[in-house]
Symmetry: C2
Subunit: 313 residues, 2 copies
């Protein structure tokens, strides 16, 4: 086999289900096509994705530093090449790099592109690629694609859950995907750190007088005592937004710098990216964030005032 | 219009998403067909379903006691006529009653049946009925059917999530269903009582030495202080089962009688209905429960021993 047939498959740092699912999908695909595929990620594979078929083969870049750089590379779900992190150094300067993605903001790095900004997930782009090439679905292949669809649509709940996504999911189930098992692994796994942080955050939950704003606090002390890290914060702010009747949920989090990280979520209509923007942050209409310097009480008061304004009071 | 064309549409007490969704679906259908439909439920409509189109028209049986009993009745998602609760008294003794359901245990009460035990939800039975009659989908009709499919499959996560369910969901999305909005209303709404109970339960979370069993406690005091009721317990036991590495999650709950209600959930292979059965309870392989008399510590010890045995230690 010539050196040219050794492929590197990479995705972004801090990989989510679409990043891991798409990495594995391309790995399986290349092997089905008789190629040698090396899968790498700059971050460790999160525990909840470790049971996906092939996940144990995803290596760290440092495991490959002794090997020559790769002449053939497939980057999946990577909007910008910096997002590959340390995996960038594995790519030869003159490499043929296929950029497979669904982000509207993709910088079109690489030599070849397979980018569909209409797709809900990179896994959906890969689904179409596989179908158009007439490749026969195997259960591992279908399971990895399903994982990407499932996670990037928030369990078929976000607005990118199109009829096309549901039809593709139906087809993947026909190929033998164990949907309950994947949902349980990927969406329903909690770390002790997450539970500890959640309990501490819930104990600080407060509601505005009209019950349309709910907010919670996490201090540095909470992180220490909960034996939790950044990764354990996943989804905690949603508990504030999900309180019945609430339109805006907020999580205030003390940073080591002394400033306060503010996460904002809205249910239906308040554009929280405007609130975040006022404080120098950004994001989307329903999910945004900013970092605000100042004492706890003062930051809380200023942010709540601004949210109340956005609510039109 | 003759008296015979006045229909009563009923479902079961403590209605879930399939009960309310199916009630509304049949209500909309009857009106499309030019009939007069009265929708009733023995329990109040839970807040999370009140935004479904037509939900405000679902009345309580007491609102109808002054009217003559109904000669034409459609019961949806009712496995056994007792499950209609006080709505039973609205049914004339010689009524024509159409029983639409998907429960394997349906007692086949009523004069006409439309029962498919292979269906994931009563809403799926109705979907097929609507399609087979060639009725044009309206957005309200599609939204109510979608709600039943969504909730009875646990948000497309349970093992009844078949390719057929996903295809039907795809078709309903094509009819204009606002999937994110329904998911947000129905699956992502929390009461303050739920959050208070969750926080209290999480503060008692303990793990067995091998970390394969996780358990939590709720006392009568917790319910009082959380200003919570039975309905707020929904899903709390899952937090124990979802801890990474855990196979069996348990929620112990003090009852007014002094006994302890034990809810058991397993992740993959332990048959918790056997554990519950040993203590005189029952359920399914992955979700079961029992009530055990005795002091807190003793009940906890006995149940944990039995679960450890089931885990084969």
């Amino acid at each position: 086999m010539s050196e040219g047939e050794r492929f590197l498959v990479v995705s972004h740092v801090d990989p989510d289900g679409d990043a891991i699912g798409s990495t594995l999908t391309v790995g399986h695909l290349l092997r089905l096509l008789g190629k040698r595929a090396v899968m790498a990620n700059a971050s460790p594979v999160p525990a909840k994705y470790r049971e996906l078929p092939g996940a144990e083969e995803i290596v760290r870049p440092q495991d490959l530093f002794d090997e020559p750089p790769f002449e053939r590379v497939i980057a999946v779900d990577v909007a910008d090449e910096d997002r590959m992190g340390d995996c960038r150094s594995l790519v030869a300067p003159d490499a043929r790099l296929l950029n497979v993605d669904h982000h509207r903001t993709n910088t079109r790095f690489g030599t070849h592109h397979l980018i569909n900004p209409e797709a809900a997930a990179t896994a959906e782009v890969l689904y179409d690629w596989i179908e158009s090439m007439g490749i026969k679905w195997t259960k591992p292949l279908a399971s990895c694609v399903y994982t990407g669809l499932l996670t990037d649509t928030g369990g078929f709940r976000y607005s990118n859950t199109t009829p096309a996504v549901m039809k593709r999911a139906a087809r993947l189930l026909e190929c033998g995907v164990d949907a309950p098992r994947i949902a349980e692994q990927v969406l329903e796994t909690l770390t002790i750190g997450q539970l500890n942080l959640l309990r501490r955050a819930l104990s600080t939950l407060r509601l505005s007088e009209d019950r349309r704003i709910a907010w919670m606090w996490l201090t540095l002390q909470d992180f220490l005592e909960a034996e939790a890290g950044e990764g354990d914060l996943d989804g905690i702010v949603n508990y504030a937004r999900n309180v019945i009747g609430v339109e805006v949920g907020i999580l205030f989090r003390q940073l080591k710098s002394g400033a306060v990280k503010v996460s904002l979520r809205s249910r239906r209509w308040v554009d929280v990216s405007e609130v975040a923007g006022f404080f120098g942050g950004g994001g989307h209409a329903r999910a945004a964030g900013c970092t605000v310097a100042g004492a706890r009480d003062e930051v809380e008061r200023r942010v709540l005032e601004r949210v109340a304004e956005a609510l039109g009071r």
